[in-house]
């Protein structure tokens, strides 16, 4: 029996390692090596200052959008809200940051109301057009104003950036993923 156990132990170890490697793989697109997420300081939807580096110690999901968006943004935020809920107690280690690409319409109060419909813990960021353009440039985000018969809409990048607890931009989740994918990748970041 002891001999069988001795023979099986290395196999068992290999299986555990293989499983661990598999579970630490991201579903999102991964940067290698990760770089420090560019810091910014803009106006928060809570009325205070929103500084990204203040969330060190938490996993940050950073997304860009606008409150008048009727397609992509509400879907993304709903998915993030569900993921946050599914994380349960671990959800306290997660912060969703949503930066507007439409500072003309999105003031702090409007963003607060919009975001709290999804999850009151989500924080929004707004600022001057120049401030937000600088943030977008640092993250490679595109945002274009498109005129419509009743005003305008914004065409913008729909990815969600995953930032680890040390402030490193590790991964990027394209639009279309389900809450479980976020739960998986946030867990990977929390285990780092």
């Amino acid at each position: 029996m002891k001999r069988v156990f001795t023979l099986l132990l290395p196999l068992l170890c290999c299986a555990v390692v293989a499983n661990a490697e598999n579970s630490t793989a991201f579903i999102a697109g991964v940067f290698s090596p990760p770089r420090l997420a560019p810091d910014f300081s803009i106006r928060g939807s809570d009325g205070g200052e929103l500084q990204l580096s203040r969330y060190r110690g938490k996993v940050v999901l950073l997304s860009f959008g606008y409150t008048s968006c009727t397609a992509v943004c509400p879907m993304t935020l709903a998915v993030l809200a569900q993921a946050h809920k599914k994380l349960g107690a671990l959800g306290g280690n997660l912060q969703v940051v949503y930066v507007t690409v439409d500072p003309e319409r999105d003031d702090a109060e409007r963003m607060r109301k919009f975001l709290s419909a999804f999850d009151p813990s989500f924080i929004g960021g707004t600022g001057t057009a120049a401030q937000l353009a600088a943030v977008r440039q640092n993250y490679g985000i595109s945002a274009t104003k498109i005129p419509t018969p009743d005003g305008y809409m914004m065409s913008h990048t729909s990815y969600v950036y995953l930032i680890d607890r040390n402030g490193y931009l590790c991964a990027l989740m394209p639009f279309g993923h389900v809450p479980d994918d976020y739960v998986h990748d946030v867990n990977v970041l929390l285990q780092k």
């Binding site: 697109g29 940067f31 290698s32 490679g140 595109s142 990048t157 990027l172 279309g176």
Partner: protein, 151 residues
């Protein structure tokens, strides 16, 4: 067709019969055998000096205007920026020396803005997993045509 004419044809073209058999067998194998690849990664590198050459007025195309991926076979795009300056692929900002690995899970056509292109545009077409015999045959033929590899 009469029996006499058929045997005439067979006598004249008897060499073609085993050849046709081999072709049919190869096509049958290509249609029925699942596609296996060593890696699902499709690596593209932006070489060092790309930006400098472009600034000097040269038209430098590093990545193809269209990249085709196939779900379950080769569905992970790997980009490596070996240049001295940051490069933007879609909204993905890659610093010098950084690489980005993006798995695709949905068959679709994706449009990306890309500074590695003179046109600034790039399309990634993700084809569905070739599970039917006809799809496997088509994929293998296309792969043979594009890369000269039989998988």
């Amino acid at each position: 067709m009469t029996g006499g004419r058929l045997s005439g044809y067979l006598r004249r073209y008897w060499v073609c019969i085993p050849l046709a058999g081999v072709v049919i067998a190869a096509m049958g194998w290509a249609a029925l055998t699942p596609i296996r690849t060593e890696s699902r990664d499709n690596l593209f590198e932006i070489p060092k000096g790309t930006w400098a050459r472009r600034m000097a007025g040269n038209k430098v195309e590093i990545l193809p205007a269209e990249i085709r991926l196939t779900l379950g076979v080769r569905d992970i795009l790997v980009l490596k920026n070996l240049d001295d300056v940051p490069q933007v692929f879609g909204s993905i900002l890659m610093m010098p020396g950084q690489s980005f690995r993006l798995p695709f899970e949905m068959a679709a056509s994706y449009q990306f803005a890309c500074t590695a292109h003179v046109s600034g545009q790039m399309t990634i077409v993700v084809d569905p997993n070739p599970v039917s015999p006809w799809a496997r045959l088509r994929w293998r033929a296309g792969n043979l045509w594009r890369s000269g590899q039989w998988q």
